[in-house]
Amino acid sequence: MTIHEGTELEKLGRLSRPAVLVLVSLAAGPKHGYGIMQDVRSLDGTQLEPGTLYAVLARLESRGWIEALPVDGRRRPYALTVLGNAVLRRYLTGLKHVADTGLRRLQPLQRALR
């Protein structure tokens, strides 16, 4: 697994980070728009605004990474698809590899600074 295999999400440009947060939120189960905003806020403090949220949801849905479920009142829940699951898994695995390597390389430097 290389980091390049998880770059589908990075093609979303400025929306790639919010997209990752939305996918991670939906990985816990289906949620509607406001539920995603609350979950993302509790996840890392990011306040997703509705304009950004729906720009992300439209892109994720058009790529088949999430799917819209039947309307519940005025709200429409969204769920992660099998494809979305795979894309997110690849992206996070690549990110974990970079993070692990970076932290491992920082250890000698940290010991030298002590």
Binding site: G33, E49, P50, A55, L57, A58, S62, A68
Partner: protein, 222 residues
């Protein structure tokens, strides 16, 4: 909320009701309004694919990026003009290339906006928008080049080459030229013309696509 009206019709059909539900729960302030404005612009620029079968339309962001191409020829023409040794034919040919580039990208926009089962409207709009954008970007580049001449850039380059060091027009005369009412009216007229010509070229692109689809036995239009 009136900002939601700035979103494309297909987008509103698909997402407006649920977004209103979110806005009813989310206590939004200035940031929310800004995000909706940016979201509306984003949705206008990326019209293709809102998860709705009727929403396939031209990708205006693509048209915007392509519309820069003709201006590149104008830049090259300007730079070649600074070199006194350049052939006048070569310098003039860059202007012709800019016009050809506008025609090609308008046709191409119309071609790519057309899809099996789609309507001709999307191709005409794509061609028209590309035409206006190309004209607008070229106009801005033209102003930028005039300002370069005023700033003495061209004279400075020519003096380096042993030329006379011509410093061009004065800033006041260029500003007068840019903001002259007649030129403004001419610009609006040309933009309108670019819209119509671009639309016609987009329709030509659609026709080319239709012929290609028909040859492959695919549905052409509804």
């Amino acid at each position: 909320m009136i900002i939601l009206r700035l979103y494309p019709r297909a987008w509103r059909k698909r997402y407006e009701a649920e977004m209103r539900a979110v806005l009813a729960e989310h206590r939004g302030g200035f940031r929310t309004k800004v995000s909706l404005l940016v979201g509306a612009l984003d949705a206008q620029l990326h019209r293709s694919g809102f998860g709705h079968p009727d929403s396939n339309g031209p990708n205006h962001a693509h048209a915007l990026s392509l519309s820069v191409i003709p201006s590149v020829f104008l830049m090259v023409q300007f730079l070649l003009g600074l070199d006194l040794g350049s052939s006048p034919d070569l310098v003039n040919s860059m202007g012709t290339c800019a016009i050809i580039a506008v025609v090609v990208i308008c046709v191409w926009s119309g071609y790519t906006a057309h899809h099996p089962g789609g309507t001709s409207r999307s191709s005409v709009i794509a061609g028209g928008i590309t035409g206006v954008l190309s004209f607008g970007v070229a106009w801005l580049v033209g102003i930028g080049l005039q300002l370069l001449v005023v700033s003495g850039f061209a004279g400075w380059v020519m003096s380096l080459q042993g030329g006379s060091g011509y410093f061009g027009l004065t800033l006041a005369s260029v500003m007068q030229h840019i903001f002259n009412f007649y030129n403004f009216a001419l610009g609006v007229g040309l933009a309108f013309g670019a819209l119509i010509c671009g639309g016609l070229l987009g329709a030509l692109g659609m026709s080319l696509r239709s012929v290609r689809l028909a040859m492959r036995g695919l549905p052409v239009s509804r």
